[in-house]
Amino acid sequence: MKWMQFFTPVESKDYKETQEMISDHSPEDITILDVRQPSEYKQSHIPGALLIPLPQLSDRVSELDPDKPTLVY
């Protein structure tokens, strides 16, 4: 059996592109979303990243602005 390709297509940005996107936008115009666990976030995170752990994401989507570019890790 092979895995189905069931992932929602999402464009990837590498480190350099991510940095450029962040510096090209003022902080209120971009969402940096950290979906890891709080302990991992505490250890290190991209400056300005909002923490919504993956298990909570489906319930908290309304906290995010769908019109803003959103970087997720």
Binding site: Q5, F6, Y15, T18
Partner: protein, 192 residues
């Protein structure tokens, strides 16, 4: 999960936090959702979901083999067993649909197994894509969480499109359990 909910500018930070820490970045994480073009029927979704549960079941058994602590082993074995129950629920949802062709469980198995064999990734290829170090339990759990999140997202979208109330309730029930899986994996991660 976000791109299916009106977020048009979602970007995956390739390599995640590792890239920011100056470590080697992983390869591309963009997988096409080749099996979906947005026009599929709920029946088609259920066939995919059934295959997905099959894949999840085998994935968790593989992960259980690699587990290094009794807690992780027990969790993966339990998750594997639950995925079989999800397959039962998905088949049940399928045969309850008004316009679904009458099929036996064996015929449904054959139907979904066939579609699962067309393309896609082996578990090893999948693991390589995420560059996970399976000797590190937090990485194994992160990988499992990413898979559960995709499954949850799929079921929520399927549930929203179901016209048959019984089928929708079953799919929502399975989605709820996938969400619990995510929460349990998250809690386990916090203990490591």
């Amino acid at each position: 999960m976000l791109s299916g909910r009106g977020f048009n500018q979602v970007y995956n930070v390739s390599g995640g936090i590792k890239a920011w820490q100056g470590k080697t970045a992983v390869g591309p994480q963009t997988l096409g959702m080749d099996l979906f073009d947005g026009t599929e029927s709920p029946q088609d979704f259920l066939k995919v979901a059934y295959s997905l549960e099959q894949g999840l079941h085998r994935f968790y058994l593989d992960m259980a083999d690699k587990a290094r602590t009794p807690a992780v082993l027990a969790l993966f074995e339990k998750l594997a067993a639950i995925e079989v129950k999800h397959q039962d629920a998905i088949f049940d949802a399928y045969i309850r649909m008004d316009d679904a062709a009458a099929v036996s469980r064996e015929q449904f198995d054959a139907l979904t197994e066939k579609s699962a064999g067309e393309g896609g990734l082996t578990t090893d290829q999948y693991l390589k894509l995420f560059d996970s170090d399976l000797s590190v339990e937090t990485e194994v759990i992160s990988l499992a969480m990413s898979i559960e999140a995709q499954a949850l997202d799929l079921y929520q979208r399927v549930g929203a499109r179901m016209k048959n109330a019984d089928s929708a309730a079953i799919v929502h029930g399975v989605a709820g359990e996938e969400k619990q899986h995510l929460e349990r994996l998250g809690k386990l991660m916090d203990t490591l």
